[in-house]
Amino acid sequence: MSTLAAHAPGAAGSGLADVAASEASLRRFLHGLPGVDQVGLEARAATLGTRSIKTTAKAYAIDLAISMIDLTTLEGADTVGKVRSLCIKGRNPDPSDPTTPRVAAICVYPDMVATAKEALRGTDIQVASVATAFPAGRAALPVKLADTADAVAAGADEIDMVIDRGAFLSGRYLDVFNEITAVKEACRRPDGTSAHLKVIFETGELQTYDNVRRASWLAMLAGADFIKTSTGKVAVNATPPVTLLMLEAVRDFRAATGVQVGVKPAGGIKTTKDAMKYLVMVNETLGDDWLSPHWFRFGASSLLNDLLMQRQKLTTGRYSGPDYVTVD
């Protein structure tokens, strides 16, 4: 399949449409992107991490963060009951305060999509399903496509696919590109609409920031609706510098093509303080255009309860504690 010529659906009409015409042109393009200086990138992320978010700004950010959560359960031990109770929590995160916003999506394995869809009926909470042999991505393409189509057929609104890191790291960029476009195709529903496609890089396995920038552009050129850091299943998941770099990539991609792409850091974001740092990065790198669940998500599970406790503290003036939020 690496010999197939491909067009870049993510960049139609921008002058970048032909960069995926061959392995060589794609490689030339990705390696022509400006380099990333590790020290400088990490320093910038650390500086943004010192912003002090207080009072009204904190209240805004907490509610925004809750509304951006892809509330996730991706365990072998998941049960129908667990997924249902997670959906109930997503609809009404804090039973003691109905003004609490709902989450953006519930993220599950494909076999739980129907259960989640049913439990979320009547809400606009999305059902996101991981697919393509998540988390390792080690399966043949037809298996990955079937996995995707299955989740879409079960009602998934969003598909979180993983890239083939082995292909990426060995420089077979066009294989990765073609796989993304094929999965994108598999996201199509019979009525012509499509499930939103999030492309997971597993940045902890890509090793260098240069690779993260290349993977970002590669996925966006191939038509990703969202780019996502991690599966949450490896040692290193979302970090502020990696996310900052991806925010810069979507900013530059929109400037080049006019196409806006979302960003989803996932894994390891556990506290309100962490979430604030990510929102500050979005705010100061991209601004208002990305400050909504349409364009920025947190892939998280334990984060929600910490946000709820901080929210209760802001509204009541008292710290509550883990017994005052639900365990789901």
Partner: protein, 500 residues
């Protein structure tokens, strides 16, 4: 070189300064600065003493224009007393084993850390710089400097100046207002580690942290007279640097004053080190890591309101990337937060004094009059206090005043170049030579360029990075002598006279 670039006025990708997520005020409490007296005398011989004269100066908070305190205008007699106290203390202090002197320096470093919040807030109030910088840069650097030179105090035999190198004697130290406490640390730490005693004069717009440091010396139990602090303006400084019983003068400040001190001391036995002005070039090659280079340029010129002698005040950008780079730079500048220095989210605080504000205004007006194109992001400035918008000049030529004179404010002059040789030629075409920056992903180009730049410090893919172990100082009219590192010991050692 873009000559009289046409005003295209292409809309700059504007500010991610949206309305959705606005940061609520997050002010540090001014009360954390501790008690500020209504008036201060000098610190001489371990005591706070009144001046022999009656003249008092005022130090104001540049963000509010409110008077913070009065302090003494040091007289010649005050300077005499301070130098005499330092001379008296010298015999015992220099006779202490290095390991004993080190204990005092370690103690000072720890007290600085313990009192870091107080010092950060006080510095921010007196100087106008943002609390984020005093908290995360100035004060940690002060502690680091004392820790570092404490480590040298008992290892001077191994500094490369032969066995048992001797101190110089009494050091007169005159420091500027841009990093008041940090400059104090740069001066006092190596002097004390090597066994000298000092008389230090802080700048007349920022005396408060030096006076607070005097309290720390007492708290640390430092022997009386080892550190003396005399306040006042340039007259006091001139009396101090010209004092006949001073063995060593260390000055950081403007080139004209440095030149007059050098003239004063010519032919005397007094040792002199000078750290003066700069007009550093930050060179961005077309293969630079663009986002980090933009950060580095911003940090290079807008850090500390541009009140930095080694500020990257000239941007030399390769023609092939200038449009892309300038757009990114403007976009980034639009997110700079100018305002209350005590707000933890402020990036750019107040200009230190009305005199400095006038100087910046005069030079930027000259830049416009000479035909350079001026740009600033739109941002609200507070009604009172001394403020200046972060400013960018494009279409600047080597002949413009804004490309030659040190502005010492948040003003960046942009020039372009085609070839690496042209970049080096333009970078070196200045009477100064303090620092420079190189931005490229190519290692060999970094080395090629750095070896040709006439600057005391050359940063590669970073800027304004400091470390106590790294020597700092200038070429040409940026001064002589080095501060920091092993090299920073030499100005305080009598390297000619050795024990045999």
């Amino acid at each position: 070189m873009a000559k009289n670039t046409k005003k295209t006025d292409a809309p700059v990708a504007q500010a991610p300064r949206g309305g959705l997520f606005t940061y609520a005020p997050a002010p540090e409490s001014p009360a954390a600065a501790g008690d500020i007296a209504t008036s201060y005398g000098h610190f001489i011989g371990g005591e706070f003493v009144d001046s022999s004269g009656s003249e008092a100066l005022k130090t104001v908070n540049p963000a509010t224009e409110q008077v913070l305190a009065e302090f003494a205008q040091g007289t010649g007699e005050d300077v005499d007393r301070a130098v005499a106290a330092a001379r008296r203390a010298f015999a015992d202090w220099s006779a202490l084993p290095g390991s004993e002197r080190a204990k005092y320096l370690f103690r000072i470093a720890r007290i600085v850390q313990e009192r870091s919040r107080e010092l950060a807030v006080l510095e921010s109030i007196d100087n106008g710089k943002p609390i984020r910088e005093t908290r995360d840069f100035d004060v940690p650097m002060v502690a680091a400097w004392f820790f570092y030179y404490a480590g040298w105090a008992d290892k001077l035999d191994y500094a490369g100046y032969g066995p048992n190198p001797k101190p110089v004697g009494v050091a007169a130290q005159v420091i500027p207002w841009n990093f008041p406490l940090m400059m104090l640390a740069w001066k006092i730490a190596p002097a004390l580690a090597t066994g000298n005693t000092v008389v230090l004069k802080p700048a007349e717009t920022t005396p408060l942290t030096a006076l607070r440091f005097a309290e720390i010396c007492r708290q640390a139990g430092l022997p009386k007279g080892v550190v003396n602090i005399v306040t006042g303006d340039g007259r006091t400084g001139a009396a101090l640097t010209a004092h006949p019983d001073v063995d060593k003068v260390a000055f950081t400040g403007s080139t004209p004053v440095g030149r007059s001190i050098a003239r004063q001391l010519a032919g005397t036995r007094t040792k002199l080190s000078l750290e003066l002005g700069g007009k550093a070039a930050n060179i961005v090659f077309d293969d630079a890591p663009i986002d980090q280079a933009v950060e580095g340029i911003v940090n290079g010129i807008f850090f500390n309101q541009g009140h930095v002698c080694c500020a990257g005040s000239r941007l030399l950008v390769q023609e092939s990337v200038q449009d892309e780079f300038l757009e990114a730079l403007k976009r980034r500048m639009s997110t700079l937060r100018v305002g209350d220095p005590l707000d933890k989210n402020t990036d750019i605080g107040a200009i230190n004094s009305s005199a400095q504000l006038s100087r910046i205004t005069e030079l930027t007006d000259a830049g416009e009059a000479e035909g350079a194109e001026r740009w600033s992001p739109s941002c609200d400035l507070p009604g009172t206090g001394y403020w200046f918008r972060p400013t960018l000049f494009t279409g600047v030529s080597q002949a413009h005043r804004i490309a030659r004179e040190e502005i010492f404010g948040p003003v960046l002059s942009v020039l372009t170049f085609r070839t690496p040789a042209e970049a080096v030629e333009k970078a070196n075409n200045t009477p100064y030579g303090l620092s420079a920056g190189i931005w490229t992903e190519k290692g060999s180009r970094i080395l090629w360029t750095a070896s040709r730049l006439k600057a005391g410090v050359v940063w590669a893919n970073t800027f304004n990075k400091f470390d106590p172990a790294s020597p700092f100082g200038g070429y040409k009219e940026s001064g002589y002598g080095r501060e920091g590192g092993r090299h920073g010991l030499e100005p305080y050692l009598n390297v000619e006279a050795r024990d045999v």
